[in-house]
Amino acid sequence: MAMTVHVDIVSAEGELFSGQGEMIYAPAVMGEIGIAPRHAPLVTRLKPGDVRVDPGQGKPMEHFYVSGGILEVQPFRVTVLADTGVRATDLDEAAALEAKKRAEEALANKTGEMEIARAQAELAEAVAQLQTIEKLRKMKK
């Protein structure tokens, strides 16, 4: 039997996932990381993207979209504190495309430094959402 680690994914809006996983992939600020059981203790910030949990035993991968947050790793437990998290299957492609368009427009029109920063963050979020949807779709095929 393969080793597993307990994974909790929570966002401010509620608990998204709680269960065992053989492998967890998460978009850390320094690049995507994969965590196997008995990983050394780690805390890192997450950027917008796709958190995946491989539950093992041939079960399909669980996908979650997070817009940022904190990841904590203990040898026996992994905790994802997401800012806003969504089960990837609940993601709305139309809404994400819309958000991307809006952010791009805002980026083109706005001049203030604060506004540009905000628009860029929104754009990054929308793009990450779309990528998650894309990945999910490829997997289904």
């Binding site: 809006e13 890192t44 910030r45 904590e72 504190l81």
Partner: protein, 289 residues
């Protein structure tokens, strides 16, 4: 019949009061549902956050963040979460009573106390009893937002970092169920330690790998931690407020109903007595003729 008329108007006014309390009860019941959902939704996040912070306090970072250091407590800062409105039974008073006891203990030990207030009732209470108030936030409404609380939290944390306050505690009502609300006082900073079981697992000397670097991650994490805990306290208190109000208003409506029943009995008796008296007067008048 003068007595009977007075009773009638009294019954009328109690009926009006009952209408109001009934309406408030129903409004509170509807709001309670929403407030509870909000509270339950964000509870797992706050709990996990507390767990992570508990681990963190056991780590041995090279760089000591001020929030992780314990220093001698000369001044205690309290963030007090209360409701904006009254008519919710003993909810706020229970909290203040628990608080006053604690404050007394602090004063006996020669520690000073400073306050940050959330909600009108706390503001009213402290303007009455006095105390050093650093900041206040009121009129949060039914859907409190984190942004509205950040200011209050920031004032307290700045005071902590500047060394004006050596410990920050938060007081709020913890929601157990509709009938029970527990006044709770917890320490926010310095960070509380993990529970015994977790401590056992993590007792060896270790530290996290921090990405990108320790200072940045800690700042970020601690900011989130405090925001989420204060937010959680506010939504819990909101759920408590609505359920306490519902229960209080239900009791008030029931009281009004039983009062009306009693008064109606008295009224009927008075009316009957008046009629009997009138008849006997007529009869005796007729007999005299």
């Amino acid at each position: 019949m003068a007595g009977a008329k007075e009773i009638r108007t009294q019954i009328g006014s109690i009926k009006n009061t009952r209408k109001i309390t009934r309406a408030m009860e129903m409004v509170a019941a509807a709001k309670m549902r929403k407030a509870q959902d909000r509270m339950l939704a964000s509870r797992p996040y706050a709990e996990k956050m507390r767990q992570v912070i508990g681990h963190l306090s056991l780590a041995h970072p090279e760089q000591k963040h001020p929030f992780l250091e314990r220093r001698e407590v000369k001044t205690v800062g309290y963030i007090i979460v209360s409701s904006d409105r009254g008519l919710c039974g003993g909810l706020n008073n229970n909290l203040f009573r628990a608080l006053v006891n604690e404050v007394k203990e602090h004063q006996e030990r020669g520690q000073r106390v400073k306050y940050c207030l959330v909600g009108n009732k706390a503001v009213a209470f402290f303007s009455r009893v006095g105390g050093e108030v650093l900041a206040q936030a009121t009129h949060l409404g039914d859907t409190p937002r984190v942004e509205e609380l950040v200011g209050t939290v920031k004032v307290m944390l700045d005071a902590y970092e500047a060394g004006e306050v050596d410990e920050v505690r938060i007081a709020y009502n913890r929601f157990v169920n509709t009938m029970t609300q527990n006044p709770t006082v917890e320490t926010l900073v310095p960070l509380p330690e993990a529970d015994a079981e977790e401590r056992e697992k993590l007792k060896h000397h270790w530290d996290y790998i921090y990405e990108p670097d320790a200072r940045e991650v800690l700042e970020d994490l601690l900011g989130r931690y405090l925001e989420s805990l204060v937010y959680q306290a506010v939504v819990e208190n909101g759920a408590c407020e609505q359920s306490a109000r519902m229960v209080a208003m239900k009791a008030a409506s029931d009281n009004a109903s039983s009062l009306i029943d009693e008064l109606e009995l008295v009224y009927n008796k008075a009316r009957q007595a008046a009629i009997t008296q009138e008849i006997s007067e007529i009869v005796s008048g007729a007999a005299a003729v």
